[in-house]
Assembly symmetry: C2
Homo-oligomer: 604 residues x 2
Amino acid sequence: MAQLVVERRDVDFVLHEQLEVEKLSKHEKFADFNRKTVDLIISEARSLAIKEMLPALKLGDEEGCRFENGTVTVPEAFQRLYDLLKEGEWIAMCDDPQWGGQGMPTTVSLAAMNYFDGANYPFMLHTILLHGAAKLVETFGTEKQKALYLKKMLSGEWGGTMLLTEPEAGSDVGALTTAAVKNDDGTYTISGSKIFISAGENDLVENIVHPVLARIEGAPAGTDGISLFLVPKICVNDDGSLGDRNDVVCTGIEEKMGIHASPTCSLTLGGKGNCRGTLLGKENKGMRAMFVMMNEARLEVGMQGLGCASASYLNALAYARERIQGRSLQATSKEAPPVPIIQHPDVRRMLLSMKAYTEGMRSIIYYIGWCEDQIRTSSDADEKQKYQGLIDVLTPIGKGYVTDKSFEVCNQGVQIFGGYGYTKEYPQEQLLRDCKITHLYEGTNGIQAMDLLGRKLGLNKGQSYKDLIKEMRDMAETAKTVGGLETLAADVEKAINKLEETALSIGSTARSENMMSAFAHAYSFMEVTGDTVMAWMLLWRAVLATRKLSDGAKKKDLNFYDGQVKSARYFIKSVLPLTLAKADIIIAGDDTVMQISEDAFGSK
Amino acid sequence: MAQLVVERRDVDFVLHEQLEVEKLSKHEKFADFNRKTVDLIISEARSLAIKEMLPALKLGDEEGCRFENGTVTVPEAFQRLYDLLKEGEWIAMCDDPQWGGQGMPTTVSLAAMNYFDGANYPFMLHTILLHGAAKLVETFGTEKQKALYLKKMLSGEWGGTMLLTEPEAGSDVGALTTAAVKNDDGTYTISGSKIFISAGENDLVENIVHPVLARIEGAPAGTDGISLFLVPKICVNDDGSLGDRNDVVCTGIEEKMGIHASPTCSLTLGGKGNCRGTLLGKENKGMRAMFVMMNEARLEVGMQGLGCASASYLNALAYARERIQGRSLQATSKEAPPVPIIQHPDVRRMLLSMKAYTEGMRSIIYYIGWCEDQIRTSSDADEKQKYQGLIDVLTPIGKGYVTDKSFEVCNQGVQIFGGYGYTKEYPQEQLLRDCKITHLYEGTNGIQAMDLLGRKLGLNKGQSYKDLIKEMRDMAETAKTVGGLETLAADVEKAINKLEETALSIGSTARSENMMSAFAHAYSFMEVTGDTVMAWMLLWRAVLATRKLSDGAKKKDLNFYDGQVKSARYFIKSVLPLTLAKADIIIAGDDTVMQISEDAFGSK
């Protein structure tokens, strides 16, 4: 069972055949990352994931985290895993070597993360926000802040978090009440309560650095008055040594449906009136700074979903090949022997659906990373803006759509195991439970849908969404010329045209006095966009595979390539027609959702 | 929070306005069950559910069941609940008063069960199979078996189970290997292992009666050679007193994703060679006997899903009304105050979707019970056959479709709570976990879909499915004449026509050499049938509500009736178009699912 995390052949396909990451090594920045090096990195990540992280997945779920007297103990096995991550420098894969990073292309780092998250993402949650926090320090920190914190964080010696949410300020960050008062020495005294802080307290690291959103005394209400502060758990002296314990106290951890191995902490800042922090960036520009981290954090959540889906699919596939149950439906004799359940049509349907989504989502997530690499290697401002726009538009898809579909994949992954899927004997039920949080944090998926319609559709006067449409249309055009894919290409083209029509329609309603009705369809719009992006990715894969098949692919690759064409065909023939119907529903714009009175929902 | 189980107004609406259960009291069998009595029953059930069962829901989840030395200890609070169930005679609501039953109409009993299951279905699992087991004894037992067991079981003094599944015989019951050897005294010696037995061992009752499927020595292979046996945990002497401990031993309980308060037991029969049972019914007719119980058991599983959905919806609604978060999207000023989240379009979308499904599913489940009541009160063989056919056709919908949609409702119920929904502070995550098993037991939902296409579509030469179509079409015809519902009625009629076309198409393929391709679309066919049944039920509700509104309904009912029209409109305008598209996919019959080779699913 050891290899059931991520399909290596598919990872290689996306990296080398779809996105051709080796081309990045032509750029001086990535000169070290030729095919051989990339393969080595993925092999190392795979080995670490399978040999070390995967065995701790169930252990972590069972053992969970313990809270006692302000301290949090994580599962015992995690200390070794964390040491291995540090030793392998996996925490700062893409970061600047100046700060201890490996300077890797983002696309390659995502493939490694796919393995890590697929094997044990509750463990990986100990490092994800650490990286985001370090990026904040790198982007907005003073030279002093960078010198004091950055290497310690990117090496993993210190942990890092993100302190946004408060009990009364969740989706509405602007409502936060944590306060900051400037001291004479330029530091700030912070006071407030924060909740839902992943790895906000733990025994893996000697210090934890909290970027904290708070409002400076007298600052405006709402998001315009929010500043960002750096608040270490243990104060850092000017020479870099650790000083006094800061007044940041963990008051408890959440009991949750899943990710039991990841402590979700409540923190009180300044309970004794003595929580000290330094301003990170400019006063009242905290929200803007946080948004810089948002794309990365949301993409990572998408990757967590994909990790669960990848593992659930491979486990289901292996089980369906082994589990003997029931005669073939076609068997004419009652004496016919029972068969592996992969031969039963409804099991195949679930497997093919899981396969198509897992593959398509892998392409979506890696592609977003690849856009980041285009920005990192480009010196052309227009090109940078184009790729940034694609990232911005695709982020709600990579987070909202991908995690929704990942949960559906994990749900089917339970089904294939029958009653066994509900037991803790197999990983399927944990993957489903762990996956569920991805719909909620870093902005609920409803928030993602609002982001797509309210911000991203009109971004750069709509140019970014148009750029996405153009990328998709170009691939459909290409596919039309590939023998055997003509009708699939035509179907995808139809969906792209319909998506464009839908975007115009809902975008126009969103700017009208009926804007609330448009937002009642925002979720569907995210789904229609996501489905079309999925169809694009699968068609793209099918184009490459069909060409390889007609160019005489190696025998060992024939099944894989054939599987690519089948995934595309399944999705385009059995899912995409629903997308068109969903688009028509959006365009029709029924507004019952807004018409119903609050009292008509039910008695109080 | 105490009342957040089931909407009483909606229960009353289905019982008294939609299904007019009082009419049943015209029949001598149900003469006692006039409106006043029915209302009293529902009020009592509601009170028991809310005051006693609901507080034990979370307790049961946390405490779970303990297995030690062959015994199973259930959560402490359950003993009192069980005593209350016994005292109130709730275990045998519909059964013959001769055996201690209350002789209630099935429809009314389902409304009571809706409350019980909505409050604490893991607890109710201790009685569900007990009732099924008792029905087996009543239907197939000898006079002696009935005399010895029936009253003890229906009173709840003894428990009951259903021993079908074995490690290698799950969906394929015919593969079971549990063996029975006839003894000289007419009893049988049983040996084998059974798994996944709900309440197979527990400390609530002094004895447990196991109906066991086993194969008599020399009987044919497969389902044709299966017989049913009655195997008590403690042997019963001829005078009804308890004798020796039988050789049935619990060897363990499953660790599961949810329903922790319900012990899922593994049982070994005849480990010491001394497990005694008596034949129940005829030799080799065990499967047929078990099928008699199947409809009831499957409908009950649907009710469990509905119970979770009902509770999740009411909790979400209450939370959305109370939780203040974010300005209105329409607010023009940044100073605008935050609003209850029920005002946000995407939250309303989720709530209305949850409401429409919960209501529609309630009607589906109660309607199936109402069909049972028609059989119970009819003396016309044709009428009995018609209603039995409707029950048979609707059972896969009431189980498979309803539990699928219930899970989706519970999933949205978590979303509305944001991050809090993932914590154990609120019931939402438990409802989602508990709901998941309903997709798996009593035949996975994939099995339900195969049952619909493979058995039920052609039942009575297709007449039963046609009867269903006719019932639906009659309602659409009626709705066309109701002011304001004309277009909704036309939409539903279109869906019914499309369903009929789809049934003909897939039914014909299922009988052809391409039958495997048809079964690859069986699940979609269940969904299309279910959606159309849902639309029928919601349209029916809207017809009644619209008439009441135009006839001058009481002021306190105006919101409720308006909510009925809105539920129907939402579903018909925002879901049903997808159903038509799904039907077209079935008719198009793409067979990629069968075309893909096993190796192309991924490496081994």
